[in-house]
């Protein structure tokens, strides 16, 4: 338990005495993990992050980061965290390097230290070549990387990322994930991130909390969450005619077997473990497997199971908010 870097108990935020944005959530984040908050816009993700980074006061409940209370010891918290905000906060008229130095000044880091650190961080996010160019010439991916570098200038123990790849195209998004992974390895930080991209939560996070209408509906590793749906699906066909349902059902990890249109649909705890065992068993009984496919349930199915709606529908509901944010980014780019 001493490994819990972030501890949240019954955290609640009510706006204007009526709108409950975050409703008694409790969770903890372990040292060195990437913890993801997954949910549609308006689910309470940003409100939670804003409370944890000490810019919103909780209405109720308690949270500590590295043992410091977010409400009473906010300065200790602020010194030990970094933030990569949803928006591009770097100044267009300043260069990338100047923007990083500005971040350093906000932490009171002396120039002798910050200049060296800024160079290192820009190197890490591969912006050294562009460091003396004004940010207005940067692409979306470069701005994102600059925000990442800025969030690390104070060598934070915990880094908060709010929708780190919002509005980026698929390739840039994947590249950004790699930068995040590299930075995490380099600095050994604990990461707390919010996202409404299922793929992002799946590939990046060690553990995920699904949040809906201000409440956490389930917490677990991506695999645990998927396994909780009852397992993977193995589909196979064999050469010979005849029913071998009973034979397959006897294999370890297999939960359920159905024969449909000449192929077998098998529900198994873990498809990658079960499939070789099934093939082995069938071979011993001189059956030749002609086709085989493995299907793992995706987070979308998990999301559907726990919130009663698909992530895509939920995202559409709040499409207006996304549009508004895009408009702002566009306006900003003149």
């Amino acid at each position: 338990m001493s490994e819990d870097i972030i501890k949240v108990e019954g955290l609640t935020k009510v706006f204007n005495h009526s709108l409950t944005a975050v409703d008694h959530i409790s969770f903890s984040v372990k040292k060195g993990e990437i913890f993801g908050f997954l949910g549609p816009n308006g689910a309470g993700k940003t409100t939670t992050i804003n409370m944890l980074i000490t810019i919103l006061k909780p209405t109720e409940g308690k949270a500590t980061i590295l043992g410091s209370d977010i409400a009473n010891q906010s300065n200790e918290v602020r010194n030990s965290i970094g933030l990569v905000p949803q928006e591009y906060t770097a100044d267009d008229d300043l260069t990338g390097y100047e923007n990083i130095l500005l971040c350093a000044d906000l932490y009171g880091i002396p120039r002798s230290v910050s200049k060296k650190r800024a160079e290192e961080l820009l190197q890490l996010v591969e912006l050294t070549e562009f460091k003396d160019k004004k940010v207005q010439t940067y692409s979306g991916g470069m701005r994102r990387r600059l925000e990442l570098a800025g969030g690390l200038i104070n060598r934070p123990k915990v880094l908060f990322l709010d929708e780190p790849t919002l509005g980026l195209d698929v390739q840039t998004r994947a590249a950004t994930w790699n930068y995040i992974k590299t930075l995490k390895k380099e600095f050994g930080m604990t990461l707390f991130m919010t996202t409404h991209y299922l793929e992002e939560a799946d590939s990046l996070c060690d553990r995920i909390a699904i949040i809906d209408h201000g409440r956490i509906v389930v917490v677990g590793t991506p695999n645990e969450l998927k396994d909780s749906l009852g397992g993977d699906i193995v589909t196979l066909s064999v050469e010979k005619e005849g029913d071998i349902t009973g034979l397959i059902a006897g294999v370890a990890h297999v939960k359920e077997v159905k024969k449909e249109n000449g192929s077998y649909t098998i529900k198994a705890e873990s498809a990658e473990v079960a499939a070789p065992l099934i093939i082995e068993t069938l071979r011993k009984a001189s059956h030749v497997v002609t086709r085989l496919s493995l299907t793992k349930p995706t987070l979308n199915e998990v999301y559907l199971q726990y919130t009663g709606k698909s992530m895509r529908d939920a995202a559409e509901e709040s499409g207006e908010a996304v549009m508004a944010r895009r408009m702002m980014t566009m306006r900003r780019g003149h």
């Binding site: 810019i55 965290i81 928006e87 906060t89 008229d93 000044d105 932490y107 009171g108």
Partner: protein
């Protein structure tokens, strides 16, 4: 923790960095910077010449009375000279100087302070909308520093622009008063600094909770004209109707302008009045800066 991230314990850290950020947006953007230099030229060159009250009392601006016997050329010249000296005494008694452009240039210096500080209210709304404010709030920077950086950057910009106005006014006919010494320039900038601190604290305080850019625009439109014209910027308060005098006398811009006129263009300086003017503007600045800082503690952490 201190040794790993080397953070300073200075309560005012980040003040210069944030102030300089605002200033860089101005002097590093050449178009913006050139515009801020051109603007005072336009104001003084156009408004100062368009409103040239001095020309009203020149010998060419009246039609000589038709009397018998008609005036000869010598008498006409004498009448012209008499009218001119009468006019100059009216100007002198009204404006404290016979040069209206000098009178107005000082008003313009205060006007530019008002305009520049209005934008500090706008800039805090932008910072909120663009997420920069949240980013800064998540760092250990003191909340008061966030406000003070906006105040100081507005003050520095306005003082620079006011200096440009003064320089431009000289070729346009600006005349310093008998009591002027180069040291008085420092006194003028002290006035400008105080009024800018007060005004930009006011505009920030009004906008500190807003995330809509329309709010500061509406506030600017509402306050802009009354603050300018219910002041001594273009016309002396003593010649205004009583009710307007009452308003103009409360307006801190009037006291700033009158104080600066004493230092720059008046024939004599009334030092006890000058002290009162400093006190008035100084108290205005101190009170509003305090209100701004208190509100920043309250509303920057919601």
């Amino acid at each position: 923790m201190t040794e790993t991230n080397g953070n300073s314990k200075n309560k005012l850290h980040g003040l210069w960095a944030l102030t300089n950020r605002e200033l860089k947006k101005w002097y590093k953007a050449p178009a913006v910077f050139v515009l801020t230099l051109i603007q005072p030229v336009i104001w003084l060159g156009l408004l100062g010449n368009a409103l040239n009250l001095g020309s009203l009392v020149s010998p060419d601006s009246f039609t000589p009375p038709i009397i018998t016997p008609p005036l000869n050329d010598f008498q006409m010249a004498q009448l012209g000279a008499y009218f001119q000296s009468l006019g100059n005494s009216i100007l002198g008694n009204t404006f404290g100087t016979t040069s209206y452009i000098s009178f107005m240039a000082v008003g313009m210096m205060a006007f530019t302070a008002l305009f520049t500080t209005m934008f500090s209210g706008m800039s805090i709304v932008w910072d909120r909308r663009l997420g920069f404010l949240n980013k800064v709030l998540s760092t250990p920077v003191s909340r008061a520093v966030i406000i003070l950086s906006k105040v100081f950057s507005a003050a520095l910009r306005a003082m620079f622009q006011a200096g440009i106005i003064l320089l431009i006014a000289i070729p346009l006919g600006f005349q310093v008063g008998l009591a002027f010494t180069p040291l008085n320039i420092l006194g003028v900038f002290a006035f400008l600094f105080l009024i800018c601190v007060g005004l930009s604290s006011l505009f920030i305080a009004v906008n500190i909770r807003s995330s809509r850019i329309e709010t500061p625009m509406a506030v600017m439109n509402l306050l802009n004209l009354p603050l300018t014209f219910a002041s001594s910027a273009f016309f002396p308060i003593e010649r205004m109707p009583g009710w307007l005098q009452a308003v103009a006398n409360v307006n801190p811009l009037s006291h700033t302008i009158n104080g600066m006129r004493q230092l720059l263009i008046n024939e004599t300086i009334d030092y006890s009045l000058l002290a009162l003017q400093y006190a008035y503007v100084g108290i205005f600045a101190a009170v509003l800066a305090t209100i701004g800082i208190v509100l920043s503690w309250r509303y920057l952490n919601k």
